[in-house]
């Protein structure tokens, strides 16, 4: 029995009780230990993520990136953190102090709290809430509030305008994100994060629901303010937007929360669409799950970084039109289509039963049919887009031609 006490994460409470502690207190201590571990992970990892991002962005742009502090410059961010801490902090006159100071904390908090429901391995998870996905979405929407508070309390026109633009964009992109989430929920039949990963033991949801995955990924790019949707940080247009008046560590918190959020949504992508911790031998050696999860979330994250350093920024009107006129309709049609096909599959008895959901072969028919449906829908969508683009180009050319003619006809009489 003594051996059990080695893995403290799983057995801390029983061990303490055996040591003669009050069960209630032991329960509380084990929860507190879990909380400390779960909340330390994002804070430690954000330093690494910022380094990875700076290094890769530098390579893409033919630079070296940080390379002075520590091996490969890996300690650069610690040095930056120290610099931010010892900087003078300026609170603008006329700022609403309480809200001004609370905003960066809430911004960071709204990201850290998401990690509380992230399943790291089959047994290690902060809290396996049965409404995990709604919890994640709800906590994410609090981040919008932090931006609004920061912009309003700074008492600065640019900050307020920047905050309004950002909030309008963020809340819009929440709609396709949540609609796209309905598809994996339908396939998994549960909202618990652990349950969603369990349901992907046989087949990852990205196979059965590629369109939902793409929509989820794109709207998350916008949610985290990544290129091509980096209007939050539009340095050239909005003098940095909502956090313009922030300096020192408060600005540092906004920046860190942005980087961490960017990784966190890719982590969620890996959990919901790429099977989370699932991989070979994970049930024998649970700690492998962390490795699988890290690898799976790094792949979309690296793609995000490369995307960020290569594509130009879109305009706000383009961003909004893309959301309301493309992503939202496509995601709604996608949900309805998948619901329809899934119901037919279930009526035909081709979907995996609860007993063999972990079996790869049992998942194949359903996944293939759904994949085919998705591909078909993708083709139709691309075709519609192509036609719309062609029509628009023709209209543009006609307009250009008309203005040219008007100019010519205005010139000709005066010449004669």
């Amino acid at each position: 029995m003594e051996a059990q006490c080695i893995n403290i994460l799983e057995t801390l409470a029983p061990c303490l009780v055996r040591g003669g502690m009050d069960p209630g207190l032991a329960q509380f201590l084990s929860i507190a230990a879990g909380v400390l571990i779960v909340s330390a992970i994002p804070l430690v990892s954000v330093i690494i993520f910022i380094w990875i991002e700076r290094k890769i962005a530098a390579r893409v742009q033919d630079r070296l990136g940080p390379n002075r502090v520590g091996p490969f410059g890996i300690l650069q961010n610690l040095a930056d953190a120290v610099k931010l801490i010892i900087k003078e902090d300026i609170t603008p006159a006329g700022a609403d102090r309480l809200i001004y100071n609370a905003a960066p904390i809430i911004a960071m908090l709204s990201v850290i709290l998401i990690w509380g429901v992230v399943p790291f391995t089959p047994v290690h998870i902060g809290a396996d809430l049965d409404i995990g996905v709604v919890y994640v979405v709800a906590i994410g929407s609090v981040g919008t509030l932090a931006i609004m508070m920061a912009g309003w309390s700074s008492n600065n026109k640019y900050a307020l305008l920047g905050a309004f633009r950002v909030v309008a964009a963020l809340v819009s992109y929440e709609v396709p994100m949540i609609v796209a989430l309905l598809v994996p929920l339908m396939l998994a039949g549960t909202m618990s994060m652990q349950g969603i990963v369990e349901a992907q033991q046989g087949m990852w949801f990205v196979v059965a629901a590629p369109i939902a995955a793409v929509i989820f990924y794109i709207s998350n790019l916008a949610e985290t303010g990544r290129a091509p949707f980096d209007l939050i940080e539009a340095e050239s247009e909005l003098v940095a937007g909502y956090n313009i008046e922030y300096s020192g560590m408060k600005f540092g918190l906004f920046m860190a929360s942005e980087f961490l959020h960017s990784f966190t949504v890719n982590l969620l992508f890996a959990i919901i669409f790429l099977g989370g911790w699932s991989g070979p031998f994970v049930h024998q050696l649970p700690i492998l799950g962390v490795v699988y999860l890290a690898i799976k979330s790094l792949i979309p994250y690296l793609f995000t970084i490369v995307l960020r350093s290569t594509v130009p920024r879109v305009r706000i009107d383009q961003m909004m039109a893309f959301n309301w006129k493309f992503l939202v309709p496509v995601s709604i049609i996608n949900v309805l289509l998948v619901a329809f096909v899934l119901k037919i599959i279930q009526e035909l008895g081709l979907s995996p039963s609860p007993e063999n959901v972990h079996d790869f072969a049992a998942n194949v028919p359903q996944a293939v049919i759904l994949l085919a449906t998705n591909l078909l829908m993708g083709l139709v969508t691309l075709n519609v887009l192509r036609n719309a683009g062609r029509r628009e180009r023709i209209a543009d050319q006609a307009r250009a031609l008309r203005t040219a003619e008007q100019r010519d006809s205005a010139i000709v009489p005066s010449a004669s």
């Binding site: 006159a93 006329g94 100071n101 809290a127 008492n155 026109k157 313009i244």
Partner: protein
């Protein structure tokens, strides 16, 4: 019991997690220099003197955008339970969901046609 435990974790997490971003702020409050003056504290508008109230008039566009978002957000509240119960339901449920979404898509089409989604 376990369900209570899960939420106890979230509760403790919420109570503790805000200390982590607050800690660097406190450390910085101890170490940083304090030499405020009127020019430093002035509102930063690219060096130009601030004119008028900060709370300028905003366009109704922001409100319309938030409005469409709110309506869809509430719609999705109903679709979450529908989605997770989907495999237990029959074809009638698909029809009900279809009608539910269809009615809301009407509103989206209306907003589109009235140019409420246009960002000028």
């Amino acid at each position: 019991m376990t369900v209570v435990n899960e939420w106890a974790f979230i509760g403790v997490f919420m109570a503790v997690a805000w200390l982590l971003p607050a800690a660097p702020l406190v450390i910085s409050w101890i170490f940083r220099p304090r030499r405020p003056n009127a020019i430093k504290m002035a509102t930063y508008e690219c060096g130009v003197e601030t004119v008028g109230d900060t709370w300028v008039q905003f366009k109704v566009q922001y409100y319309l955008n938030g409005l469409v978002f709110l309506v869809f957000d509430v719609e999705l509240v109903f679709l979450f339970p529908w989605a997770i119960a989907y495999s237990q339901l029959d074809f009638f449920a698909f029809g009900a969901g279809l009608l539910f979404i269809f009615l809301l898509t009407d509103a989206l089409i209306y907003a589109w046609k009235k140019n409420a989604l246009e960002w000028q």
